[in-house]
């Protein structure tokens, strides 16, 4: 059966020879690095839940290529139900991990490529789709994690790729050979890159003929020669080095991001899915972005955790019966479930592409993501309001354990007599983690900029709404001749 367990996934990562740097030093063993490991554990959860009877209905699918049971993260959506289950899977995993579980981006890249390779072939008579399907079969059979790498470093924002003073600000082809191509550039903000077996590269913007060397898409093993990972920092990241079981907030899971440098990397032809077909770069971006904007269903699950933590904080503080606290909890739930509405709606209004793949409704996916750029911030604000200032002034776990001062903390930070001081500290640390610690990278700023910054969604909304029909409806009702 082509599905790995969580343990097999971890072991498979150990076999990779990734070139990873963090704090200026090479990380020889990313899997066991205390800063990186929680993110690996979050990805491992996608394997773990797929093995469980109580979650397999969402976490697994039947491959349209082989008929075998596969992890849904390697599946190509075959109907509306697949799209709905994807949204539901995001909420489930967000709630189970309280962070970014990193595997959606590869699924979104696979689905977008299943559509666009077919469309390129239809126009140009190429064989990208068959190459892609061969690759997909490999991914499904081995239950791999794919990093979907789209975001270039982009240089001067006013300039097109070919106009950049440094041509490497967008990843591009530097050499064409009989056996493949050589590429150079970098992809920024790559979530889960170091936990991935494969990296799927796509162009980052729509392109014109002058930029055709930048219109390239391909897949490589994550440890291919010339790929270098430079880990991003997260707020409060070094708390993971301190030991203990309190100050991290989320003791088990986290996310990570990296800058991925392609230093003249060779890509064999059978791994190339777009090569200078610049007129399809925009279509690939649009398709991937729509899927990935749907993927922010995960924030609903993380929101579930934060709302639960806020209710507990209110109870632990002894304030849960106050009417304004109850109202704030209602508002948090209203915002969170509104987010859920968006990710369900864009799935249920999906459609079939010529390739057979089902796409989300692009307008609704963009509306959903636009809400995601806002609502988690308000939910986080309300969580901090409910938690109180102690969530940022709390002394450390080591102080709590200190024979000299620990008893003062136990005494003065006791609130509700039915709850221990330590439990109160645990929940406050979790809220801190989600709203301004390591998990805030995923819950807040990633919600803002991940899958495209807010303006990107507004552009898509303006393109996709049917304004003529709206004006026609207005004219009809007020008596203006059509």
């Amino acid at each position: 059966m082509p599905m790995m367990t969580a343990e097999q996934y971890e072991e498979s990562l150990r076999r990779l020879n990734l070139v990873v740097y963090m704090f200026g030093e090479r990380v020889k063993n990313p899997v066991d690095d205390p800063i990186i490991r929680p993110s690996m554990q979050a990805v491992a959860k996608t394997y773990d839940l797929a093995q469980r009877p109580e979650h397999e209905d969402i976490m697994t699918a039947v491959s349209h290529l082989t008929g075998e049971k596969i992890n849904r993260f390697t599946h190509i959506h075959q109907n509306i139900d697949d799209l709905l289950k994807k949204s539901k899977m995001g909420r489930l995993l967000g709630r189970e991990t309280g962070c970014c579980f990193q595997r959606c981006v590869g699924m979104d890249a696979l689905n977008a490529l299943s559509i666009v390779t077919y469309d390129i072939d239809a126009k140009h008579g190429t064989n990208y789709n068959q190459r892609f399907l061969n690759y997909l079969r490999y991914v499904q059979q081995n239950d791999l994690v794919c990093d979907g790498a789209m975001t270039d470093t982009k240089g001067h924002r006013k300039l097109a790729p070919h106009q950049q003073p440094d041509p490497d600000q967008f990843l591009h082809v530097v050499e064409e050979r009989a056996d493949g191509i050589i590429v150079r550039g970098a992809k920024a903000h790559q979530t889960g890159a170091v936990n991935s077996h494969e990296i799927i590269v796509m162009p980052t913007i729509a392109m014109r003929e002058e930029d055709k060397d930048y219109a390239v898409s391909f897949a490589l093993p994550s440890d291919a020669d010339g790929i270098i990972y430079i880990m991003g920092r997260q707020s409060c990241d070094t708390r993971k080095l301190e030991g203990g079981a309190l100050d991290q907030g989320n003791l088990l899971f986290g996310g990570h991001e990296a800058l991925v440098v392609f230093d003249d990397v060779f890509v064999p032809w059978d791994r190339v899915f777009m090569f200078r077909e610049y007129e399809f770069a925009g279509a690939l971006v649009e398709s991937f972005a729509a899927y990935h904007r749907q993927s922010y269903a995960c924030k609903v699950g993380v929101g579930d955790v934060l709302i639960g933590a806020s209710q507990l904080a209110a109870q632990y503080n002894g304030a849960d019966q106050a009417s304004h606290i109850k109202d704030k909890i209602i508002e948090m739930n209203h915002l969170n479930e509104t987010l859920y509405c968006g990710c369900i709606a864009c799935a249920s209004e999906g459609h079939r592409e010529p390739s057979g793949t089902y796409s989300v409704n692009i307008l609704l996916a963009n509306v959903h993501k636009q809400n995601v750029t806002r609502f988690p911030y308000e939910i986080a604000r309300l969580a901090q309001d409910i938690a109180g200032g102690l969530m940022v002034t709390l002394p450390s776990e080591k102080d709590l354990n200190s024979p000299e001062v620990g008893h003062w903390l136990y005494k003065y930070f006791k609130a509700n007599p039915e709850v221990s001081t330590k439990e109160r500290m645990h929940i406050l640390r979790l809220i801190e983690n989600l709203t301004l610690g390591t998990a805030a990278v995923g819950y807040l700023t990633e919600s803002m900029h991940g899958a495209g910054s807010p303006q990107a969604q507004r552009i898509m909304i303006s393109r996709r709404v049917n304004m003529p029909e709206k004006m026609k409806a207005a004219k009809k009702l007020c008596g203006i001749d059509q």
Binding site: P53, E54, H55, I58, K88, M89, L92, R95
Partner: protein, 112 residues
């Protein structure tokens, strides 16, 4: 033991368990099933829904959306629960040996 299934006297019911995906369940589905397994140990054995020769399948839905995919299940009758109260009804029906009576299984299940 009085026969309560179609397999003959003295035999425990073979009950398959089929869960929905559990995206946002309204109750702890696994805890409810574990309780049923414990309480009904004399009357039934619980197996994966893909097992052969099941007397029925208990479909454990996390909410009333009831989205579990039943298409791959065999022809065994279904008993669908979407909450703790319905789980209790199921437990009582098995205990009282009324699971296959009119108004029992037939009144609560279908094959979608």
């Amino acid at each position: 033991m009085e026969s309560i299934n179609n397999a003959g006297p003295g035999k425990r019911l073979r009950i398959g368990i089929k869960y929905c995906g559990g995206c946002n369940p309204e109750y702890d589905r696994v805890a409810v099933v574990n309780r049923l397994v414990e309480d009904l140990a004399e009357e039934a054995e619980f197996l994966p829904a893909s097992s052969p020769d099941l007397d029925l399948v208990l479909v454990v839905q996390g909410c009333r959306t009831a989205c579990a995919d039943l298409s791959s299940l065999n022809e065994a009758p279904l008993w669908i629960i979407t909450g703790r109260e319905q789980a209790e009804n199921f437990r009582r029906a098995v205990k009282d040996k009324k699971i296959f009576e009119p108004g029992g299984l037939g009144g609560r299940a279908g094959r979608g």
